[in-house]
Amino acid sequence: MIRNPEQAALARALLAERLFNAKRTHLVRLVGVLFFAGLFVTLGVVQGDRAWATDYGSLATYLGLAAGCVAVAAKSDRFGAWLTLAPALLDMPFIYLVQRGQYATTPSPAAVAGFSLGIFSLLLAIAALSSTRWQLWASAGSAAVWEVLLQAEAQVSVGARVAAVVILGLTAFMLVYASDRRASLLVQTSRREKLAALGQLSAGVGHDLRNPLAAIANAIFVLRRRLQKADALSEKVEEPLQLAEREVAACQRIVTELLDYARETPLELQPVDVKALLEECAGLVRLPANVTLKLEVPDGLPQAPGERDRLRQVFVNLMQNGAEAIPPERPGTVTVTAAAVARELRVVVRDDGIGMDAETRARVFEPLFTTKKDGTGLGLAIVESLVKQHGGRLTLETAKGQGAAFTVALAR
């Protein structure tokens, strides 16, 4: 299981929502059971309609348990979490009992069994509101068992029994799919909100910091020149001076990256010659001595609409990342390939470096996430946001020890 704070927070939110839904569900169930008990009593006992005669004992027990669920779920979240299983553990067996109770008097047990299939599907949908994946599958299993029992006793054909199981299975499958999809949308939404907040914050901070940093950088430069002129640049002075220069440059880099990230101006798209661009980018990458950068880009690629400076930022970033993923003690290669595939122009930046494990892989585009000692954690987040602004896709293939391949797919 990959656990990071973001996912843990999300899991908590999902649990809280499930508990809330479960409480509402118990109430709805109670009302439903009351309605049916009333119907049975009115039609069976008062009107004397024999088709509505049933096992009143189990109906009363069911009513009591349903009311109990409401009371317990309202009191305690700990038991409430387990009561999300109530549809599977309580409703389905009792529906079986109540429905089977009618067999003695109903003209058509098969019809009762068929009707139950509808109730079971409905219960499954209700259970999906408060169930996790395995709970939902358990509910579906329980529904299938009771339904098949009802049908067997009504002597329904085997084909119909198989069909009932398939229908319940498919229903469960769709419900699981829908709830998974919802969870992944929630992840995306929460990430987008985080990004938006970060964007606003960094734009504000970045603008405020840039001027003071420029003033400091200028002052340090003046200091160095004046010391130089006075012939006072000894080693004693040089060391702190260099430290200050280096650190100011680092601050400026961080501020620039933050502001890049928070950039709000829309892109100005123009046709870009990707081969020329990639060649230019290759020249801008700071390559360690042990790393070779190979460009395998064919002539005659179609042009892609883009903002040249921004695309350059994308590719330089990816190439630099690739070069930095190769451990300094062994030689390595960063290979850049490009091809026109279908309606896209795909550029792949592949390195044979250390690769990433599943946890890093999952968070690598998250802003402020970094594995580098002096990284800002914004590089790949910026790359992803820029590629998206271009209407393109950024995908990553990697495994621990297997290197990494980033694919930028641009519409052409």
Binding site: R210, P212, A215, N218, F221, V222, R225, T265
Partner: protein
């Protein structure tokens, strides 16, 4: 020679940056600083400058608008260098853009700015030497 150094006017609304630019350029140029483009227009029209270094985002007017206003009042217009944190906002067709000799994106290398100002300043001093016909 009374004026062997280029005369530079620096316009920036941030007092820290203004002071640091004064220090940076002050050793090699005659520097006058101004923290508002409105005042700077006054200063520039009353005494001659070879180079003007201006910020882009300022109250009342942008650096480009400042250069434009200057070019309407003063011929020949001093060479204008623009410093900006948002180089994308400076478009080639905006008023005043043609007056800008150079647009430097922040963060800029102080050494580079100094060399640029000195080079452009030399041009300005040469122009000054030949009286306008």
């Amino acid at each position: 020679m009374p004026h062997s150094q280029p005369r530079v006017l620096v316009v920036d609304d941030d007092p820290g940056v203004l002071k640091s630019l004064e220090l940076l350029l002050g050793d090699d140029c005659d520097v006058v600083v101004c923290d508002s483009p409105r005042d700077a227009l006054e200063v520039a029209t009353t005494s001659p400058f070879d180079v003007i270094v201006t910020d882009y985002r300022m109250p009342h007017m942008t650096g480009a608008e400042f250069a434009h206003a200057l070019s309407e009042r003063l011929k020949p217009t001093p060479y204008c260098l623009l410093l900006t944190g948002t180089p994308n906002e400076v478009k080639p067709h905006m008023p005043g853009a043609t007056e800008l000799v150079m647009v430097l994106a922040k963060p800029f290398d102080p050494d580079r700015l100094l060399r640029m100002v000195l080079q452009v300043g030399r041009l300005g001093m040469n122009r000054r030497a030949v009286p306008a016909a």
